[in-house]
């Protein structure tokens, strides 16, 4: 009996119009990417992603410090990723991108066009999330690669050796992986917050505070944090001094794959719950 039910369930799943949903999702992603990346509002996200790149470029062109060692700049790059990109740049860019996906459309009174199209709401949500993720990844991934190139270009042949014959490329891979997971993790959190709350900003500030104090929390609470998962994936541990000491507290060690899977599971749960919420979503612009 159970096997018959399972077979019927599997048959009904396979009978769904997956091809149509895939086509619709691809088209939605294309439209959303156009809006995310080529609108005037996107300047803020470009700024957040490219600010360190611009500073590194200025240093390279005008303020080269020949006395600096390669290891110092390697630490500087790690600090940029850990303290700036993860805690500020990716955080605020994702807040801007992902809270706009649904809530922003509500505020601009244009969400109903998506809900009146012959597209499942879950497809709309997943496509919007995907487009937001691609936008964030494109910008921050490109910025990360540019930062990496600028840091090691300054060291000439030694830099080249470090990148191609040393640990450089694997560090770059790890940074890109960390940034990608950061975009997905914060993206999912802010998408959900923007669906639950009319104004997600105060909640986002609480998340920021939580992420800041999370390293000194008990081990169980540390698991409810995007940054704590990412910290375990960093290829280099940044030595902390002053205020940064709080952010570099040594927490319970977690295997890299465990941290990545934990974060991906968190993202999956949040997206599944968001799909449930969008099914019940009503258009009531007057109360927004």
């Amino acid at each position: 009996m159970n096997s018959e039910r399972a077979a019927a369930f599997a048959k009904s799943i396979l009978a769904q119009p997956w091809g149509l949903w895939w086509l619709q999702a691809r088209r939605l992603v294309r439209m959303e990417l156009r809006r995310n990346l080529f609108s005037l509002k996107a300047w803020w996200i470009y700024f957040l992603a490219l600010a360190p790149t611009a500073i590194l470029l200025v240093h390279l062109l005008f303020e080269r410090h020949p006395g600096f060692a390669l290891t110092d700049d390697t630490n500087v790059l790690a600090a940029i990723v850990q303290f700036y990109y993860i805690r500020l740049g990716v955080f605020f860019a994702c807040l801007s991108i992902f809270s706009r996906l649904i809530r922003g459309e509500m505020i601009e009174r244009s969400l109903h066009y998506y809900l009146l199209a012959p597209v499942r709401r879950e497809v709309v949500l997943v496509a919007k999330f995907t487009a937001g993720s691609i936008s964030a990844l494109l910008l921050f991934g490109s910025a990360m690669i540019a930062d990496f190139a600028l840091v090691y270009t300054a060291f000439g042949a030694a830099g080249q050796e470090y990148v191609f014959n040393g640990p450089g490329l694997s560090q770059l891979e790890a940074y890109l992986f960390v940034v990608a997971l950061g975009c997905l993790g914060y993206g999912a959190v802010f998408l959900l917050l923007s669906m639950i709350l009319r104004n997600p900003m105060p909640a986002a500030m609480l998340v920021l505070l939580w992420e800041f104090i999370n390293p000194v929390m008990p081990a169980l609470l540390q698991k409810i944090s995007v940054a704590s998962y990412l910290r375990h994936l960093m290829p280099i541990t940044v030595p902390g001094e002053g205020i940064f000491a709080l952010l570099t507290v040594q927490t319970e060690p977690v295997a890299g794959w465990h941290a990545a899977l934990g974060l991906l599971a968190l993202i999956a749960v949040i997206l599944a719950y968001s799909c449930v919420r969008i099914r019940r979503l009503e258009i009531r612009y007057l109360t927004e």
């Binding site: 119009p17 149509l20 086509l23 619709q24 088209r27 939605l28 439209m31 809006r35 609108s39 601009e108 009174r109 244009s110 109903h112 066009y113 809900l115 009146l116 199209a117 012959p118 597209v119 499942r120 709401r121 019940r280 009503e282 258009i283 009531r284 612009y285």
Partner: protein, 316 residues
């Protein structure tokens, strides 16, 4: 096709926004043709339309359009087009892009979307402005592009919330002609409008709503006949209106007479329309008065609105 699969059905549908009533226990069975939703501001017209299209969900009851519910959007929105009242659009799109993108979401091929977008733009006479950004459109043009988007995919049901708002008289006439044409093709058109006299001309039936309650629904003439406490008014064009009025007053169902401004007709009010027409026939046969035309003067939507809802929006 079953009988019910060509209907818009509401079964005891209620919608509450928190403690505020949207609509209460609405049951409707709407056949194809033009149906006008009439009611004062805040009466529940837009709520009914939003319920029909799943933009809001019923607190209780069930509804379906052509046998499909909005919970099945893949099928539902191929059959339904909704021109909302919301005067807003995705940013930075031209009229053409707006239509083309909407059609692509149906899953159709790009050449098909291209053809249908062009066709819809021509239908609303907006072809010249297609390449301009919607932000630069006038209110009337924005109304037209919303209408184009609602009809572009050739739906069988078209729901139009105040579709004549912001249109100049020429554009209103064009839109009404388009609605009539679509109705003739067997489509459902559900229209809410404040411009009652114009919508009245193309409307097959009317739904009167106030305070979230359906006050009356059906064919306009039938609804008028059911409003028995308001004597019906008939205009009779004839050569001797005074004589006709005096003869009609010999019957006690005639309650009011008023001469037409041109002196070639008389408005008569009667509490018994069947008896009224019998008496009028007798007078015509007698040949004392030469009757040119007889027409009901108050069985239009506006009159029914005033009788049933009143000018203050509360049922009278």
């Amino acid at each position: 096709m079953t009988a019910m699969s060509d209907r818009i059905l509401f079964e005891d549908v209620s919608k509450f926004y928190g403690e505020v009533l949207g609509v209460n226990r609405v049951s409707l069975n709407i056949p194809p043709g033009v149906t006008t939703l009439v009611g004062p501001n805040g009466s529940g017209k837009t709520t009914l339309m939003n319920l029909m299209t799943g933009l809001v969900q019923p607190s209780s009851g069930q509804l379906s359009v052509l046998g499909i519910t909005p919970a099945d959007p893949d099928r539902f929105f191929r059959q339904v087009g909704y021109c909302t009242q919301f005067d807003s659009f995705p940013r930075r799109l031209t009229g053409w892009q707006f239509l083309f993108d909407s059609l692509l979401l149906h899953g159709m091929s790009e050449p098909d979307a291209f053809r249908l977008a062009g066709e819809a733009l021509e239908r609303v006479r907006l072809g010249d402005a297609a390449s301009r950004r919607i932000e630069s459109y006038s209110k009337g043009m924005r109304q037209k592009i919303r209408l184009a988007q609602a009809i572009a995919h050739h739906p069988r049901v078209l729901i139009l919330d105040e579709p004549l708002n912001g249109l100049d008289p020429m554009a209103r006439a064009d839109s009404l002609a388009l609605f009539q044409e679509l109705s003739r093709l067997g489509m459902h058109l559900v229209i809410s409008s404040h411009i009652l006299d114009e919508v009245d001309r193309i409307s097959d039936r009317v739904i009167l709503i106030t305070g979230g309650y359906i006050v009356a629904e059906g064919d306009i003439h039938q609804v008028r006949r059911e409003v028995r406490d308001k004597p019906m008014q008939v205009l009779i064009r004839c050569d001797q209106p005074e004589l006709l009025a005096s003869r009609m007053f010999t019957s006690n169902h005639c309650v009011e007479a008023r001469l037409h401004a041109d002196g070639k007709g008389v408005f008569l009010r009667t509490a018994d329309i069947d008896e009224f027409y019998r008496l009028l026939n007798r007078i015509a046969v007698e040949g004392l008065v030469s009757i040119d035309a007889v027409a009901p003067a108050d069985d239009d939507t506006l009159a029914i609105y005033q009788y049933l809802i009143g000018s203050d929006g509360s049922p009278s």
